[in-house]
């Protein structure tokens, strides 16, 4: 099975993606591969606006009918937006993991951290 891995963003080994937006924040979600492995997502627990995150530390929890997994922050910084739609419609993570299924926007403390993440090619090699 092949998975969508857009090359406009970077990835963590733990399957989160990070996309730099026009206003300088970093949007975060999980990959197509991750949502497929998890199966139907039934609950997403996210931090609050204003919470401070460190790179590669837990920012939330995702629960599917098969498993409960921690979510890890691709970059550190302050949470400036949370996708509230996921609380009522967690299936967005399955339906559109790279779009409407986004989870957070982070104001990155150190944009160099983005460079430490996997490129789309490197991530593809990992999940292949």
């Amino acid at each position: 099975m092949s998975f969508d891995i857009p090359d406009d963003r970077r990835y963590l080994e733990s399957h989160e993606w990070a996309l730099e937006t026009d206003d300088g924040t970093v949007r975060v979600g999980i990959s197509d591969f991750a949502q497929d492995e998890l199966g139907d997502v039934v609950f997403v627990e996210l931090p609050d606006d204003g919470d401070d995150l460190q790179q590669e530390t837990e920012f939330g929890v995702i629960e599917s009918i098969k498993a409960v997994s921690d979510l890890y922050a691709p970059v550190g910084g302050e949470v400036v937006a949370v996708n509230d739609d996921l609380f009522n419609a967690p299936e967005l993570v399955n339906d559109d993991p790279f779009g409407d299924g986004w989870m957070l926007e982070i104001d990155p403390a150190d944009t160099d951290e983005l460079e430490t993440l996997l490129s789309a090619d490197e991530y593809e090699a990992q999940v292949a």
Partner: protein, 512 residues
Amino acid sequence: MSDDHTTSDPTTDASQVRYDQARYVNDGQYEPLLSEKDQTSVDISSDNNDDGDGDSNSPLPDDLTRDELELPGLSEPELARHYTRLSQMIYGIDSGPYPLGSCTMKYNPKFTEDVAALPSAAVHPDRSAESIQGTLELLYRLQDYLGRIGGMDAVTLQPPAGAAGEFVGIRVAAAYHEHNGEGHRDEVIIPESAHGTNFATAALGGYDVVSLPSDEDGRVDLEALEAALSENTAALMLTNPNTLGLFERDIEEIADMVHDVGGLLYYDGANLNALLGRARPGDMGFDVMHYNVHKTFATPHGGGGPGAGPVGVVGELESFLPAPRVREADTETNAGADSEKPTYELFDPDHTIGKVHGFQGNWLVLVKAFAYIARLGDEGLTDASAKAVLNANYLASQIEYDVPYGPFHHEFVASAGDQDAADVAKRMLDYGVHPPTTKWPEIVPEALMTEPTEIESKDTLDRLAAAFNAVAEESDGVLEDAPERTTARRIDQTSAARNPRLSWHELAEEDT
């Protein structure tokens, strides 16, 4: 049963269909709710205060009282049939084999219910120790039985469930370390293949969890263990035989390694059924253990009411156990009493972690466990573990699915191979048997974790094997459509989790 069914219909092999489920589907509806069968409105307002706004004599606010109640008005046979039909729609250990792995599901002999129902078992928990000597003696003897079965020096009966027992065991270990000035120990090591409760227990107990990979043959990887152990290790939690049914052959070396760094060894009693009368965790070097009396000693299982998860410890940890415990009164207290017969009293251990449940725990569950152990005795318990292991090995030898790890004891983990284990489980329901635990432990792909227990006859095991083997031959399409013959078909787990209906009111609202 007719012969002209399609090949996907399990009735074509009638020998395999013994435990048909009742079905009372009427226009797509299952057994109606009692309130749907009959709604009789009962006026409950008091005569002189009928202001339509509740009973003004009530101390409760008006908006919390009612003038009218809708109560079902049904005859006794209507009520009895309602519950009988519901009971026929489910599948339990009283219906047929129930080979869920790692959570020993065995038949509860009904005599234990009789014992628990004896008038003398109904004891008010606030009665004085002098007036309930028989009750205390039973608790004392059960502490002693469990201690001897597990090779432990002291036992508390208070924890109300297996997971509660785990939590108590870890709190006792923490109190021990704290008492010895070793409160800095903040890690608990747990094999990846362990029960989920172990991880939860360690986390709830305030510890960081260090996850331990399995080695190639499915056991504890000693090198990985060596690397994980440190002066911060509070405990290693182990199940033996482990969740693959494999005996940890290196257990003595493991115990030495853990003790060398000052850690404690915790035994998860979930698989004690395999060891009864043959090996004891205490002799292997374990320091703390919990007993799942609902697994090993045939008390009611989940949903069957209150449970019990006694905890045993070695002598060094005894003074930290929950309070109160039961002991024989010393001879001075005994002066004047019948010198032949010991008396019993409650006491608080010196460094107790406190109470973990009301009074002595769930007393009537403990009565059932005591009755079971006393009835089977040494020989009976030893025979139970022999037959549990024999039955698992016989069943595994009769099924076509691959069993990658062995030699196993009371349970085995088969692999459904190219089939989806969850679909296999659903299809087995069509053959009138309960399926095994599926998709866990993850070390085996598409796991079918199977534990027949000692209670099943060869005939039953053969029927179980026939169900496994029939499903093994079937196509994905048939499996995906299963179950076809149960009262409820495939449950939509996703919708159930995303849009839970937590009250029958919501069901009634949707129907209208």
